[in-house]
Every structure is written in C-alpha cells, then in structure tokens.
C-alpha cells in the first residue's frame, strides 16, 4: 500500500491526529499560535458529522468539551498561554470528575499576554500544577510535526483509558513549522473507543477508588443515570465529607496515573551509551540539542540526550538511572528553569546544569554547543 505522505503544519497534524483518533467534538476560542487547530477542525469535523463549536471564551470552551465528554464524546480543545490559564478551573473539574478530554497548549512566551507569536516552553509546570488541589495529569511534548499527529492519537487513548485530562504541550515552533507527515490509516493505529460499562445501570458506580481499575465513564443518556460533582465524592458520585472517602478519592486521582506509569511513559534516548554529558530537552528545543550533540561529538565531546515525550508524569526512573552513569546533566529549555527542578530532584550524584534562554528566539545549536563546552571543561 502506498503511504499517505503530506507536508503539513504542526497544528494541522494535531487536527489530523484528532480526526484519526475519532474525535467527536471540538470547542475552542481563537488564540495565537493555536488558532489553526480550530480553523482546520471547523472544516474537517462537520464534514464527518461531528461537532465544532467556537465558544464565547476559553472557560466556556473547556466546559463545553466536558459536557460533551459526559455524553460520551471524544473531545479536544486547543489554546495557548492566556487561554490555558483561563481553562484551569474546568481542567480541575475534569481531574476531579475523571472526565476524559484532550487540551492542546501551543506554548508562547508569557506571563500574561507575553509573546503571542513567539515560542517558549514556560507552561510545563502549569500543565501539572495549574489548577488547584492535588491531582495527577498526563502531559505530552511532541518535538516534530509527525510526532504531533501520533501523540494526539495517543493523547485521546490515554484520556479515555485513564479518564483524565491529557495536555499536549507543543510550542509555537512545532505548531507553525511544516514537515513531512506520514498519515496512517485508521487500521494502522491503536484507537481506544468510549465503551458502555460492563455492568447494568442498577449496578453502576461512576467511580472506583479501590479496585485499581479505572471504571468506564458511562455516556449520559444511555440509561446509566448518575451524578457528577466537583465536590469530593464517593464511588457513587455523591458528595461526601467522610475522612476515609476523601483520602481514598485523593489517593486514587494520583495512583491511577502513577501506578500505570509504565503504560503512560514515553521517551527517546539518543546516543546516551557512551555519553559523558546528558542533555535533557523536549519539544522544539530537543531538535537544536540533537544538532548540538553531533557538533560536540565532532569536537570530541561525548554528549547524549534524554527526551521526554510524556513529560507528566515525569520520567523519574529514567533520569535516576541515567544519572548513575552520566555525571553531568544539562537541561535545555525555553524557560527560566522548570524541568530542571524535576531533574535536580531525580538525578542522584550528577551535577545538573541549565541552559535557559527566553528571548523569543529558538535556542540554537550554537547556544547549546557553547554551553556543552563550558560544562565539559567544568
């Protein structure tokens, strides 16, 4: 079979991936540099009988996808920094009520209005900690247009499987650049569908905190009548202030992600076998790092890279293991120091260096090479 190859933009690849994943519903609000996701889906989704909505604000867009998801829809929204800040309240609701959804944040410079048309990676911690209260989240950082497509499909699958919001953190560079994409046939990729529970309505509880298994979310309107609330609730879905229920609910929101980390994690190791210096980089920055590594190796400095693709939950185990054999770690990111905090937490015995450039320009291979040389001489 001939391959379906296209030249497309990162934002278009996200839209394409959503359609392949069986997306039923998009709601969003215009914001640079993510608007192409909405524009493309406004054409694609109605043509296949699905729903596209432009809402009155970011909060409404988030609410609308959760409402549709409770009806059984596979849902996605796309935004950028300021919009991501507005969505946090309902992202917390999705965590608390275990409603699957995919949120694309095409990162731009911040805080506030920041740099609408220029890249940054300043929202990594926000993806995890943006909404209040304890919870776990899944976040994914694709580093190419092709990966944006496949990771969007994976994001939908993880959202349904673990009944959780999944954040796709691309950035202005990945979102707007054009690259070759191999578009898969639906039969070539794993797609997890929304299912009815395997128990009859009278035996259905919308939550289960103790069995270790994620209960399927019954689509509303199919005979499974239940209650959804952002209040702490028991397994029946009704609010509770009983201490044991509260603790079980809190534990579950974190355990369901962290106890399944092997299934959720995804990363790439690049030339780490003989490396004396390990670069940790993700998203568009990892592309410059890859180039810098070959330049450094040409100059006789052995550098490798660990690239998280699933960035939340953080790959503690991999960083910890690599730090046992590689004594210098250089974290490169377009922010003032976010993922470096996680690397410092998990790397035992390695010295951790950071290269943090946030000036609206991509971090270049030369920037990284200069830092590699400095680290190498240290």
């Amino acid at each position: 079979m001939s391959k379906n190859i296209k030249l497309m933009q990162g934002n278009e690849a996200v839209a394409e991936g959503a359609v392949i994943a069986g997306c039923d519903f998009f709601a969003g609000y215009p914001i640079t540099p993510s608007s192409e996701v909405a524009e493309i889906l406004s054409s694609k989704l109605p043509k296949i009988g699905k729903v596209f909505l432009q809402m009155e604000d970011e909060i409404a867009a988030m609410g609308a996808i959760l409402g549709a998801a409770l009806g059984g829809a596979k849902t996605i929204t796309a935004t950028s920094g300021p919009g991501m800040s507005l969505k946090q309240e309902n992202i917390g609701y999705a965590s608390m009520c275990e409603i699957p959804c995919v949120i694309v944040n095409v990162m731009r410079g911040g805080p506030s209005t920041g740099l609408p048309t220029l890249p940054a990676q300043g929202d990594v911690m926000q993806a995890k900690w943006g909404t209040h209260g304890d919870h776990a989240v899944i976040a994914i950082t694709p580093s190419s247009v092709n990966e944006s497509l496949y990771e969007t499909i994976r994001a939908f699958n993880l959202a349904i499987k673990y009944r959780t919001p999944v954040v796709i953190l691309t950035d202005e560079i990945i979102g707007h650049m054009r690259e070759k994409v191999v578009i898969p046939d639906k039969s070539e990729v794993e797609v997890i569908d929304v299912k009815l529970p395997d128990v009859p309505p009278e035996k259905y509880n919308p939550y289960n905190y103790t069995s270790g298994k994620v209960t399927p979310l019954a689509p509303m309107g199919e005979g499974y009548r239940y209650h959804v609330t952002g209040l702490i609730h028991g397994e029946t879905g009704f609010p509770s202030q009983k201490t044991d229920i509260i603790q079980n609910a809190q534990n579950w929101l974190i355990d369901k992600i962290y106890k399944n980390i092997k299934d959720i994690e995804k990363f790439e190791e690049f030339q780490t076998d003989d490396a004396d210096i390990l670069i940790v980089a993700y998203g568009s920055t990892s592309r410059s790092a890859r180039q810098a590594i070959s330049m450094a190796r040409a100059a006789g400095i052995k550098v490798g890279m660990f690239r998280p693709i699933t960035i939340w939950p953080f790959p503690d185990e991999q960083i910890s293991n690599l730090s046992k054999k590689i004594k210098k770690i250089l974290v490169v990111e377009m922010n003032m120091g976010q993922v470096i905090l996680e690397v410092q937490r998990t790397a035992c015995g390695s010295k951790v260096y950071g290269l943090h450039i946030v000036n609206g320009e991509p971090i270049t291979p030369d920037n990284i090479l200069a830092k590699i040389k400095e680290v190498s001489e240290n």
């Binding site: 009988g49 209650h227 009704f238």
Partner: protein
Amino acid sequence: MIKTKFNYDYYLRKNTLPHIWCPGCGDGIILKALLRAIHKCGYSKDEVVITSGIGCASRLPGYVDFNTIHTTHGRALTFAIGMKMYKPKLKVITISGDGDALAIGGNHFIHAARRNIDMTLIVFNNYTYGMTGGQYSPTQPLDSFATTTPFGSIEPPFDVCNLAQAAGATWVGRSTSYHAVQLEKFMVDALNHTGFSVLDVITNCHISYGRRNKMKSPVEMIKYQKEKAVPARSAENMSPEELAGRFKTGILFEAKDRPEFCGEYHKKLELLKTK
C-alpha cells in the same frame, strides 16, 4: 403524554436527602414544581440532563434522579451546550442562582441566549449569595443590604428577563416560589419551547437576604413575592412610579420563528452529507 400517575418519590434520590437548604427556603418549592413539570412533559428520566453551577440552587441536581451534573461556578450553561450539541435528543435543563447565572456566568448567559440553543435555564433568583453568607448579587435591589453592602447597595440590578430577551432568548418568563401552580405551568411551557428559554424565579432567602432587609421570616418573604409581583397584563396600565420596587410576572416574551442553534447545526451536517 402522561404515562403514569405523578409521584415525587419516583423522581427523588431519597438517599441524598435531607437537602442542604434552610428551613423555609423557596428552593424546595421550585424543585417540586420542576418535577411536576417534567412529568407533565412526559420526559423519561434517562432523556433528561440537568446541569447546575455553584450555590444553594445548584445543589438541586443531586436530589433528583436524572443525568445530573453539578459543574463549576457560573459554567453550567457551557456544559449544557456541550451535552446538547453532542446529544441533541436529550432534554437539557440548567439550574442556576442569580450570582451563578448573571455575575460569574453572565457571559455564558448572554451567549446561550444569542445562540437560541434549545434548552431551559431556570434562575433561582433570591437576590443574594446565600451559600457564602449573603453577599450582594447582580439582582439585589438598589438600597438593600447585604454582608458586603452594609451601607446599602448603590449598584442597579439586572432584570433577568429583559437581559435574556435582549440577548436573544426566545422564551422568557418570570414567576415566584409563592406562585407554585403558575410556576409549574410556566416550566412546562418553557420546557416545551424550542429554543433558549429562561425562567426567572423570584425565591426567598430569608436567612441571608431577608433578615438584613426587614423580612427575617419565610412568611414575610413569601408575602413580599405575593405583593410585589405584578402580572404582565396589569403592568401595562401602571405608571413607572406604581411599578417601582415591583416585578412583572408572566410569560414576558415568546418568539417561535427564530432559528434554533442545535437544529441549525445538525441541518448543516445533513447538507454536508449530501454534498
């Protein structure tokens, strides 16, 4: 349409009772009217979705045996729109307080009205944020008192119905928790309307509002509702002075010829299919 004899117990989730509302609160009267209205409309429990925001009124969905979603503050309409657009056959009702619907949720209110999407919003309008202890709301009358207007309110209130109509809602009505029979009748009408229907229900919070405004008992507040309500037809012959401090009740606006959003969207999908 009516298949069985009406019975409150059939619709209540009795294991979630007693409710959190204070003794004498009007919310229970509105809940009962809503159950009777849903029964009269002949909806099955499975086809009804009720969303609500945050506040006393928004606790209603927990007590009734439908598909119920107690959402975030002010956002109930956004969840409702998502549900309705994805599952157009479902009957979607939103329950919201005055603060929930018109302050924090004001943007969603006007845009749901503008779209004229086929669902019903019932505003439990008690002029106050009861759950948080009686702060002033966007419907609180001028010169009245709240925990955050200790010297009297200087903010003009919204008229829920005028706002809904101006924004594009195609069925707009007002009743009170005193007029329980009328309330049920209006609810049936609002539910049967195709388009965005808004029912403003004046209800009493004697605890948080009344007690600071010389109406400390439910009886005084119910009397207030009875005395201040002016049927729309009578209001036509009254001067602005005579209407001051009073509110109009009745079906205040109805338009049947305007396109309904959800239907229009799905019509467009059908057109695209045939292309």
